[in-house]
């Protein structure tokens, strides 16, 4: 407990550190990390508010713009963007009845009904306060569980890491909404795409076909932007209906005492459920919000009001998705394994700075590690303090027609991809992945497992090759080491559970809450 607060203190001092900067020719001393956090939260909200642009596309788009920042500042800004994008998504859900991103799909149901009754302001405040509370709890959990998990990670050899990656990939599929076999195939495809480039063990260039740029592999920004950004733009253009925007008065912002009383239990339940689901591979914010809404609908005393503007229907999923967003950092930071697509992007951002995410970061770079954790809490605070007063601006932004927005999205995507490595081939590849992403949507294949596979592919190959080298080619190495065996048993158990017909239908039900 004491070490935890000491660690958080290290983080706080890293976040609040005052650095000299030159701004417009003036030498100033500013807590730059706070500034990055604020800018990230603002930009994240700005883009998250736009319907159809989720956190993955937002982060991928803005990643290159953060290149010039120091590592800690960059990660802080990116996590600010992540929270901002999530918060922006809820705003859109409540005001327009369109989820800005998938984790706010259920917020639409009761949030929009509250807005129609002139209680949009209350719904937005509820979402913000619930998220903030969940964010605080999530940060504490992260600080408490990260060190023991990192200790455990030190006992991991290549066999354990291989099994863990398999569990992570399979878990991502089992807990996602898509069809099981297709999602597994998407992971395989992602793993294969991750293989493109120079083989680290032998130096042989694979699947590059003589194109020098491909020797470095296919960038995850290229794939993320193509599959999530471009494909979404094309998909949105296809739906010709003009969006109906809710422009009635937002109403009073402050929940009444009765509202507060009704909020407390759902926020607590949502936070607990979200924190637990966030750690699971593939869990993350989407599953948490669906789960929390379903739970509230079962246990709430006001269940009759659900679907007609029940404040519980906003409070629970919004706390849950934020708690999950927070705790999904745990496997990424301690084991170096991203549990979802957003974390995959964060891993990419860290490796660009030559920081290999994993148990070592905590001991070799404590300021970065704890600074990032504290900045998450600061980011959540920032969202409450900044965004509630700025609600008017976000509402205005929603009235900008899509025909102005999507060229802007394409422009930022193109410049973003190009400036990652100043390669026009990357832009062409993004267009190709845009086409592929559009085909995926048409064929009902999910993009998230692909991205996860792409990031984990090289790791999986590296670790399993090393494990088999050490065992002299005996695959039994994965089954005879206790940690590795238990990880694989969990994977198998997950597979059996998901394949059971009863669970299968429940799983589909959980993702079709409407």
């Amino acid at each position: 407990m004491e070490t935890m607060f000491a660690n958080l203190g290290v983080g706080l001092s890293a976040v609040l550190a005052i650095e000299p900067v030159t701004l417009l020719g003036h030498a100033l001393s500013l807590p730059m990390n706070l500034v990055y956090c604020m800018i990230g939260a603002m930009i994240g909200t700005l883009i998250g508010v736009l319907p159809g642009l989720g956190p993955v596309a937002t982060i991928a788009m803005l990643l290159p713009a953060t290149f010039t920042l120091p590592p800690l500042g960059r990660l802080i800004m990116l996590s600010g963007i992540y929270y901002g994008a999530q918060y922006g998504g809820s705003t859109t859900a409540i005001l327009v009845n369109l989820p800005g991103e998938t984790s706010s799909v259920v917020t639409c149901i009761d949030g929009y009904q509250m807005a129609r009754r002139g209680r949009a302001g209350v719904a937005l405040t509820t979402a913000a306060l619930g998220s903030f509370f969940a964010g605080c709890v999530g940060t504490l959990l992260l600080a408490a569980f990260a060190p023991p998990l990192a200790d455990l990670a030190f006992r991991f050899g290549p066999a354990e890491y291989s099994s863990l990656i398999v569990l992570g990939l399979f878990g991502a599929v089992a807990l996602s909404s898509g069809a099981l076999l297709k999602s597994i195939a998407m992971i395989c495809l992602g793993l294969l795409l991750g293989i493109v480039g120079t083989d680290v063990n032998t130096g042989v260039s694979r699947f590059a076909f003589g194109i020098p740029e491909l020797d470095d592999g296919i960038g995850f920004v290229v794939v993320a932007m193509g599959v999530f950004g471009f494909a979404e733009v094309i998909g949105n253009l296809e739906e010709k209906e003009s969006r109906e925007i809710f422009t009635k008065a937002v109403g009073g912002m402050f929940p009444s005492g009765a509202d507060f009383k009704r909020m407390i239990a759902p926020v607590l339940r949502g936070t607990a459920l979200g924190s637990a689901l966030g750690i699971l591979p593939g869990g993350g914010a989407v599953l948490a919000s669906f789960g929390a809404y379903a739970l509230e609908k079962k246990v709430s005393r006001n269940r009759a009001e659900f679907g007609q503007g029940a404040i519980e229907g906003v409070a629970a999923p919004e706390s849950a998705n934020n708690a999950a967003a927070q705790t999904s950092f745990i496997p990424m930071l301690t084991l170096g394994l991203p549990p979802n697509a957003v974390m995959a992007l964060m891993v990419g951002a860290m490796t660009i700075h030559n920081i290999q995410p994993g148990p070592l970061v905590m001991s070799t770079n404590p300021r970065l590690f704890w600074g990032l954790i504290v900045s998450m809490w600061v980011g959540n605070l920032m969202l409450v303090v900044l965004n509630l007063p700025l609600i008017g601006i976000w509402v205005r932004l929603l009235t900008v027609p899509y025909r102005f927005l999507y060229p802007a999205i394409l422009v930022f995507c193109c410049i973003g991809v190009y400036t990652v490595s100043y390669s026009t081939l990357d832009v062409l590849l993004t267009a190709a992945f845009g086409l592929l992403g559009y085909v995926f949507v048409k064929l009902g294949c999910e993009g998230a497992p692909l991205l996860l596979g792409l990031v984990l592919g090289p790791m999986l190959e590296e670790y399993s090759r090393r494990a088999l080298l050490l065992s002299d080619g005996h695959f039994s190495v994965f089954f005879t080491r206790p940690i590795s065996l238990s990880l694989l048993l969990v994977t198998a158990a997950l597979g059996i559970v998901v394949a059971l017909p009863a669970i299968k239908s429940k799983r589909q039900e959980a993702f079709h809450e409407e």
Partner: protein, 176 residues
């Protein structure tokens, strides 16, 4: 209820299957069928080309080992998915028509941007990107599009070139 319904429909389904099944497969679930075909193609591609690299043994894997194993797995999954889609028990699903106009315009505008950027510089290419991609909207209007192009180009120049100092050529090469 559902049991009796199933019993009632089964003979009908069987006869339908007999009619279609012998001469040709019936694709019940178009989405899954074509997804399976796509995975099969990707799997064969990676396994096939991966086979050109040294395979090695499990203890000393060559660069070809992983792609061949994974590619074969993907191809296998593709076959299973596609076969599942032609079974009479599959849920019927159709692939929605492609929106060719927005698809092509968005892709063409991006390709133009990539190909012309080294020669024509950022300003011209951004304007082209915005104008060509805007043609994809069903609400397209010239005046608004030109204004949008000018505004976005200005914002990008200020943010990326001036503020973030990214190395981007602004003007066409022939203007220096």
């Amino acid at each position: 209820m559902s049991v009796s319904l199933g019993a009632l429909t089964r003979p009908a389904r069987l006869s339908r299957r007999r009619r279609w099944g012998e001469a040709q497969m019936r694709i019940v679930n178009e989405k899954n069928f074509w997804a399976g075909v796509m995975f099969l193609a990707f799997g064969l591609f990676f396994a096939g080309f991966g086979g050109r690299y040294v395979l090695g043994t499990a203890a000393r894997m060559g660069p070809g080992y992983f792609p061949v194993v994974l590619g074969s797995l993907l191809a296998l999954l593709g076959i299973v998915i596609a076969l599942g889609a032609v079974s009479a028990r599959a849920a019927a699903e159709n692939v929605a028509a492609f929106a060719w106009k927005p698809l092509l315009l968005v892709l063409v505008s991006t390709v133009l941007f990539a190909v012309l950027l080294p020669a024509l510089g950022l300003i011209v290419c951004l304007c082209l990107l915005v104008i060509v991609s805007s043609l994809a909207s069903h609400e397209f209007a010239w005046r608004a599009t030109l204004l949008n192009a000018a505004a976005l180009t200005a914002i990008c120049v200020v943010v990326f070139v001036w503020a973030l100092k990214l190395q981007l050529r602004l003007l066409p090469a022939f203007l220096g």
